[in-house]
Symmetry: C2
Subunit: 332 residues, 2 copies
């Protein structure tokens, strides 16, 4: 999947930072692909990019508009539909990770055909999968897991991959969500897979490899999230990780989108280890990745406290030196 | 979904009893709908029904051929395709729970249109779901869980529903698999749901109800099965059961289709209780349902041993008196 670049990022109503995490993820990790943004007037958050209309974007040689924001309730509103069609009529390709397939919306498909642009539905592929087998595969695997959704599992995996590459490891980031797929330009949006094939799809995504090769697999959800724990468990079983890193956002009090409270770090590590042993008895946790972006106070003390309590390195993958965690990985 | 009856059950190559569990499930619970079977010469197992060709079936007023056997590898073989088309050309409707949608196979769709018959793809519906919310709903719920796939979760749920109805309970069997959907003529094949919506789909399937109403929810897979544990966990969280019954097949040594060994009954109960507490802190196990159909020896001693070890009633739901378990349910 190679989407024509550069991109106009569509942010729509952009209610909060988490709602635009696809846009900000691409911008963070592939800034060279992102030239401008499109937002509605009432948007609460924006990126540090020029604003452009669809016409302006096309005139400035932008090739694709990427839907970089979560659609509320998972349905495509009429307003978005009109905007997408307008972007198509201006000559832009459209890339989307929505559960609604662009090409399933007759007016959008029709506009795309008339204007000769492409629709990229990242959550869907023609790949078929087998059910998981649970057999140990060669090569090594690291999975990022979390106390909640949207706590930094993707950023942590990408930061670890970057640091490992700088340290001459053979490794590859394996995307399991729409933003990860946009960043890596490969992978599977695991939450769009038919549920019978969750672990089987991950087995396909991270096949046998050289004994010193690491797949750095992007985690999803949380074993403690009542909406998505099934996805997290299938991903854990299919990944059969040798190492996990627990990702946590310390300002969060409730699970994203529900009333459930956040589990403790220790509880969450223990649960992943316990359940992960089914497909890899040697699974171990090698660190805690702290997403400090929303902390007002200095995070040093908290990191030191978490590190002591769990007897593990605790670090912010975006701002801290990762040599300690790289050493942990080297030891496996 | 009302499929025209009666049925010709298609058993294909019928490798073993588990492969034809859809056919035998419908025949066990809805014998009045099943008039005959179609099998290939090499079939290893059959039902106690007359054999008929497609033509004979149609001449004998059979309305629908139901695919009652698992297709190996989940793909539709050319041989099956030819048989299905032949059945259509003989005038039969087709009902299938395969992951491959009948109407996605051009030759089958084409034949159905030409001959004016209907295709029933039980694994698919146009229903859209929300992600799970994890909020406690009114009414009561019983979920059957298992040490493995295909150990009797559906039969147990149906037997419990039957016994509860005989005891004047307000209750309803909620199907979550293709065979259950065929028997109940409603429900959701949960393994065909996009993984983001597993628990949300179960919340939809078993909504708020009267405080004395019981949903008897058919379980799927096992928390210890490396292929399907994610589905089982999503189903557990979405069901938020007040009571679980652990289903077990004592002659099984390995998990169905994989190399993983079967967990102990106690381990499996504990795991379901532990993880189920996320959405219902009052979850409790009220019994062990033993599938004794493959036992050569008398099962009385084993049931008594399991009952003592786990301090729970242990019974075969198809052959034993269920009054003790009904009393347990009454107490909740």
């Amino acid at each position: 999947m190679l989407i024509p670049k550069p991109y106009l990022l569509f942010l729509g109503e952009a209610k909060d930072a988490l709602a635009i995490k696809t846009a900000s993820g691409i911008y963070q990790w592939r800034p060279e692909w992102c030239k401008s943004q499109f937002v509605y007037d009432e948007a609460k958050v924006k990126l540090d990019l020029p604003f452009q209309s669809f016409q302006e974007a096309f005139s400035n040689d932008i090739k694709t508009m990427v839907i970089g924001v979560v659609n509320a309730g998972g349905t495509l509103s009429d307003r978005w539909k009109r905007s997408i069609i307008e972007a198509i009529e201006s000559g832009l390709n459209i890339a989307s990770g929505m559960h609604t397939r662009l090409s399933d919306v007759p007016e959008i498909l029709d506009a795309a055909i008339r204007h000769g642009v492409n629709l990229y539905d990242l959550r869907f592929s023609n790949q078929t999968f087998s059910t998981g087998k649970g057999i140990k595969r060669s090569g090594k695997r690291l999975l990022t897991v979390g106390t909640d959704c949207s706590v930094g599992k993707k950023y942590t995996a990408l930061a670890i991959e970057k640091a490992m590459k700088e340290n001459a490891f053979k490794c590859e980031f394996k995307a399991t969500g729409q933003t990860g797929v946009l960043i890596a330009e490969r992978g599977i949006a695991i939450d769009a897979i038919v549920s019978d094939f969750i672990s089987g799809a991950v087995e396909w995504l991270s096949p046998d490899n050289d004994s010193d090769h690491w797949d750095i697999i992007e985690g999803q959800g949380s074993l403690f999230h009542p909406s998505f724990a099934g996805v997290s468990l299938g991903l854990l079983h299919g990944s059969q990780p040798d190492a996990i890193i627990l990702c946590h956002e310390p300002t969060r009090t409730n699970m994203r989108g529900v009333d459930t409270s956040i589990p403790s770090i220790q509880e969450c590590i223990d649960e992943n280890i316990r359940l992960g042993k089914l497909t890899n008895p040697n699974i171990r946790c090698i660190g805690v990745a702290l997403n400090t972006s929303d902390m007002n106070s200095d995070s040093k003390e908290l990191k030191s406290k978490i590190s002591k309590e769990n007897n593990l390195p605790c670090f912010d993958p975006l701002t801290d030196d990762l040599s300690q965690i790289i050493d942990e990985i080297r030891d496996i």
